[in-house]
Amino acid sequence: MIRVLAIAALLLGVLPAAALASEGGGGLINLDRSIIIQGINFLLLLLILGKLLYKPLLAKMEERTQAIRKSLEEAQAARAEAQREREEHAGKLQAAYAEAQAIRATALKEAAEEQRRLVEGARAEAGRLVESARNEMAQEVTRARQALRQEVVDLAITAAERLIRKSLRDEDHRRIVQDAIGRVEKVG
């Protein structure tokens, strides 16, 4: 930048002098007192340009440099923050995944246990039902046998009663009574 300003100042200083020389017909630069004025002009111009243009320009450039640096730093920080958050999220995700795995494993274990328990319960219940049915069947058979036996006995006794009633004569009654009297001793 300084170099540009120097070239600009030189041109501003030399071009009027060269013009003056061409008007006088004496060449590009006349070595007379005008050169001193030109020199002073040049210095004044250099001073004014430096004051009004160069310093603000430098300040502006510095400001922009700072802004860019700040932006870069912020970007760096943001990137680092993003990285940290990403890592944190990854960690959380990992933890959540691990937790989900653990929950799944627990659920599977519990489901297997429940299934085993249900199967065992169902097996036991089935066993009980079978046993109960077997018992009921046995009781039913016993009852049926008993009922059949009772019926046969009733029929036989009823038939015997009819037969006895028909066939008993007076002497039979007498004999039965005497037999019974003979057994009275067993009363006590």
Partner: protein, 181 residues
């Protein structure tokens, strides 16, 4: 039913004590049986003596009148009047039974109710009485009743003791044995 019997025993005991003091337990018992037979046989008298809305004094009067007509003495008339007055006329059959038991105990005898398929001959009655007397150690009075529903033989009951000498009993026992297998 138990309280019915207890009440009857109380009345019977009271009458028995008075009759024993008078030395006429058997005679009083016979009079009481006659009066009870009239009560049991006469539905009208039974109704009058057991209805609670008839005044106790009237019931007493009616009962004493019936007892007098039945030929009962003063003691039995008063007793029956008292029983009717207290609304216990329906207890008379049980009172008679309880009184009879007291007298029988006093005289060392027992009554055997015998149900038989055919009427027992005198010899059979004597034999049965003898056997029961021997078995129970008491003089036995047989009260025989022919029961046509019995197949054969007899059933004798003395108090709570029952001797089953009937064919029906034998068949029933056989039925149980066969049914048990």
């Amino acid at each position: 039913m138990r309280s019915h019997e207890r009440t009857a025993r109380r009345y019977a005991k009271a009458l028995y004590d008075v009759a024993r003091e008078a030395g006429a337990t058997e005679a009083i018992g016979q009079e009481l049986e006659q009066v009870a037979a009239v009560f049991t046989g006469d539905a009208g008298a039974h109704d009058v003596l057991t209805r609670p809305w008839i005044k106790p004094a009237d019931r007493r009067g009616v009962a004493m009148g019936i007892a007098q007509k039945a030929g009962a003495g003063k003691l039995v008339q008063d007793f029956v009047g008292l029983v009717a007055e207290r609304g216990r006329a329906d207890h008379l059959p049980e009172i008679v039974g309880a009184y009879r038991t007291l007298v029988d105990d006093e005289l060392g005898r027992a009554r055997a109710q015998v149900r038989s398929a055919v009427a027992l001959t005198d010899g059979e009655k004597r034999a049965l009485s003898g056997k029961l007397e021997h078995a129970l150690g008491k003089r036995i009075i047989l009260e025989e009743q022919v029961d046509a529903t019995l197949l054969g033989g007899f059933i004798a009951q003395v108090g709570s003791l029952i001797f089953d000498g009937s064919l029906d009993g034998q068949l029933a026992r056989m039925r149980q044995r066969l049914a048990r297998g």
